[in-house]
């Protein structure tokens, strides 16, 4: 028997290591026979820590939310007694979270041990690499990718074969293939899960891409905030080298290729390819004008191709199963599957991989289970700081590059943040502008100063100091910033503001003209009141830092609005939900 514990960053954060230690302890103490191992993130983050118990015949039972106190019973009843502990096992409903998905990129995540190449080989690993380097030409590989219709999964959705072909066609002393693993979008963690859960798939994708364009060296630019991902990648590269899949003469084909990791140092703009190259060269990560494109002059002025993690992870599957099989999934222009990081006010947050073209509704309600506490769905934010908010009226929009673009948002790298009735859309716009303002590299005036001005206006509005004409001023600035910025960061920075104005103009107007926050979230525009349901327990009065609450014991209390500093302590303290925001 085997006990496999999910240990992605999120699993570890919920205590997977403690659960593992408890299993080891209990197995020894109860003299049970079972090996303990681990795997990457399975994607159902809301159920962590997740433990799979494999019987000797290969069937497994999945236990969820396995805190250490549950371990003793699982060891005694299941491992020793052979009876499944139904109470702790995953429910039928939760099983559907995975069953409703179509897993290509995440095919091995949560299924194999990412630190053991043998497990990867057992599921057909490196077969695609072998096929490519020993039996295909560069053109054949590019043609296969062209047939698949694979488009860049990092955000722009550019056809992958085209980039590879361009890098192949341009002459250069050396050629480089680079993986952008600097997942900078706040609210996105698809790449982290692949890096932590299936690092060999990325390595394979890079070897194949490198072969197609004629590169002998690859660099993975990974963000320093993902220490576990870097560790697992390093281990995977070492194992691949030992087996001869990296290095000289791969599979006896005469093709040489090796990889190295470069840790990023924290700059969102480095997601832009020319900025990423500057950072690789040890400079400030600032973008430059294109052309020349990286495929012409990139890393050290040589032809360079950059793709993101998810794009590369698709490649071995395409080679193994054929481009046509990949192209059969999705829609005419957006083929294959896409991984989304579902988070925010959602019941079942986690990683979701679905064929492109599925309506948003099926992702959010069908797989994600709807909104936390069954509140009203308001909008979903896609594409991070470059994207926008899609309102509930458009929830039937199919998830394709074209359809999402029409709404003003973008598919982006795959972050999907769900918002409910309590999320203020003006505050969301302010939040994203605050982010882009900090992350602007400062090269273009419009981006550097324009985002700052937009942020100031939005801050004013959320503080109740909005003026007539602010919305129009924001719109005017937005167009100017888009036109006057050189790279994608500035060109897309106003999107969160534009989409929220387009779909939630009434909220902006409420803030400016009525001095009201529709979602009751902006502190300067709300006041706290005590409802009649108050039982007079005095808890809030004792907690209030400014003694603004008065009243007799067992009688309804009152808040003195002149004294109240709106810290929200009373709301937090009240056990009877008797504090309301007006």
């Amino acid at each position: 028997m085997k006990v496999i514990i999910g240990q992605g960053s999120c699993g570890i954060a919920t205590g997977a290591k403690k659960t593992q230690a408890e299993f080891e302890k209990q197995i020894t103490a109860q003299k049970a026979k079972a090996e303990v191992g681990f795997t990457g993130c399975v994607g159902t983050c809301y159920l962590e820590p997740i433990v799979d118990v494999y019987d000797d015949n290969g069937a497994f039972t999945r236990y969820v939310k396995v805190q250490p106190e549950k371990v003793e019973r699982i060891v005694a009843e299941h491992i020793k007694g052979g009876r499944i502990v139904e109470e702790y096992a995953i429910s039928k409903e939760d099983e559907q979270f995975i069953e409703k998905q179509k897993r290509v990129v995440l095919r091995h995540c949560g299924m194999i041990n990412p630190e053991d190449i043998e497990e990867y080989l057992a599921v057909g690993g490196y077969e695609a690499t072998k096929k490519v380097v020993t039996s295909m030409t560069q053109n054949e590989v590019i043609e296969e990718i062209k047939v698949s219709g694979l488009r860049g999964r990092g955000g722009a959705g550019f056809p992958t074969w085209f980039k590879w072909n361009a890098a192949k066609g341009n002459p250069g002393k050396e050629k480089y293939i680079v993986c952008n693993a600097d997942e900078g979008d706040p609210g996105a963690f698809m790449d982290r899960s692949v890096l932590e859960g299936d690092p060999h798939a990325l390595i394979e994708g890079m070897i194949i891409g490198g072969f197609a364009m004629g590169a002998t060296e690859g660099v993975i630019y990974c963000r320093a905030e993902y220490p576990l991902a870097i560790k697992r990648l390093e281990k995977a590269m070492e194992q691949a080298r030992e087996k001869g899949y990296l290095g000289k003469n791969i599979f006896g084909s005469g093709y040489d290729f090796d990889l190295r990791i470069k840790a990023g140092a924290g700059a969102f703009v480095c997601g832009e390819e020319t900025a990423l190259i500057a950072s690789l060269e040890g400079e400030r990560g600032m973008p430059r004008l294109k052309p020349p494109f990286p495929a012409q002059k990139g890393y050290w002025q040589q032809p360079t191709n950059i793709n993101n993690v998810e794009t590369f992870a698709n490649v071995p599957w395409i080679i193994a199963n054929g481009g046509a099989a990949f192209g059969a999934m999705g829609t005419e222009k957006s083929k294959g599957t896409k991984v989304f990081a579902l988070a925010g006010k959602i019941k079942k947050g986690g990683l979701v991989e679905v064929p492109m073209g599925l309506p948003l509704k099926d992702v959010i309600f069908g797989i994600g289970g709807g909104i936390k506490q069954d509140k009203e769905f308001k909008a979903v934010q896609m594409g991070g700081p470059s994207g926008g908010c899609i309102p509930k009226e458009l929830i039937d929009t199919p998830v394709t590059y074209e359809d999402i673009n029409k709404t003003g948002a973008i598919v982006g790298s795959g972050g999907m943040i769900v918002m409910d009735e309590n999320t203020c859309m003006v505050d969301m716009a302010r939040y994203f502008l605050d982010f882009t303002r900090k992350e602007s590299c400062g090269k273009c005036n419009y981006c550097r100063i324009g985002t700052k001005r937009m942020l100031e206006i939005l801050e004013r509005i959320t503080k109740g100091e909005g003026r007539d004409g602010d919305i129009e001023l924001l719109e005017e600035l937005a167009v100017k910033i888009k036109d006057g910025s050189m790279c994608g960061l500035g060109q897309t920075a106003p999107n969160p503001v534009l989409t929220t104005i387009r779909y939630f103009r009434n909220e902006y107007e409420d803030h400016i003209y009525k001095k009201k926050c529709t979602a009751k979230s902006c502190k300067d525009l709300i006041s706290f009141h005590i409802k009649d349901s108050c039982v007079g327990c005095t808890a809030c009065a004792r907690k209030c830092p400014v003694n603004a609450i008065s009243g007799e014991v067992k009688k309804k209390h009152e808040i003195d609005q002149n004294l109240c500093i709106k810290c929200g302590k009373c709301e937090e303290t009240c056990k009877f939900a008797s504090i309301e925001r007006l």
């Binding site: 999120c10 320093a224 905030e225």
Partner: protein, 169 residues
């Protein structure tokens, strides 16, 4: 400063922990960020002295090193406390109330973003995203014992966690 910052190659210098890194990377073009990361890992932050030392070893001007160090969020020019609180301000955390968590941390420790407590136990840094979005709001605490991530935070929970860390220190 000049007498403290002795020339590279001298094994008796005050930055000898950095020597193996400099030996390996000083002459490799494009390695400045790697060297700075290593220096920060060893010394906790990038002091003026260490910047000058790296400059001498690599031939890169101190002004340029300073430019690179201030461009990236990861680099610090001031020492930090024993525990670095990285409070996630990603979108999912923001939607789930990370500002309230920040308020609680600031109130409890008496510091704001970027500052260190007087006893040198905590430094607070707001970070863009830790990638544990389904556990929002999240924070990571870095210390000599390694990294620990805490999810599904509430104001009470975060106060308990900080109290426990303080007790251990």
């Amino acid at each position: 400063m000049s007498e403290k910052c002795c020339c590279c190659g001298n094994s008796g210098n005050q930055f000898k922990e950095l020597e193996p890194t400099l030996e390996k990377y000083a002459r490799v073009p494009g390695s400045l960020i790697t060297i700075l990361q290593k220096a920060q890992e060893i010394y906790g932050y990038l002091s003026i002295d260490v910047i000058h030392h790296i400059s001498k070893a690599t031939g890169i001007k101190p002004a340029k090193i300073y430019g690179v160090a201030t461009f990236y969020a990861q680099f610090r020019l001031q020492p930090i406390g024993k525990n670095l609180i990285m409070l996630c301000q990603g979108t999912a955390c923001h939607v789930n109330g990370s500002q309230m968590i920040e308020e609680a941390v600031c109130e409890y420790l008496g510091i704001s973003d970027g500052e260190t407590t007087e006893d040198g136990i905590f430094t607070l840094n707001n970070v863009a995203c830790l990638g544990c979005c389904s556990l929002a709001p999240v924070m990571m605490v870095q210390s000599a014992d390694g990294d620990e991530t805490y999810g599904n935070l509430t104001k009470d929970k975060v106060r308990e966690i900080l109290a426990e860390i303080r007790e251990r220190a």
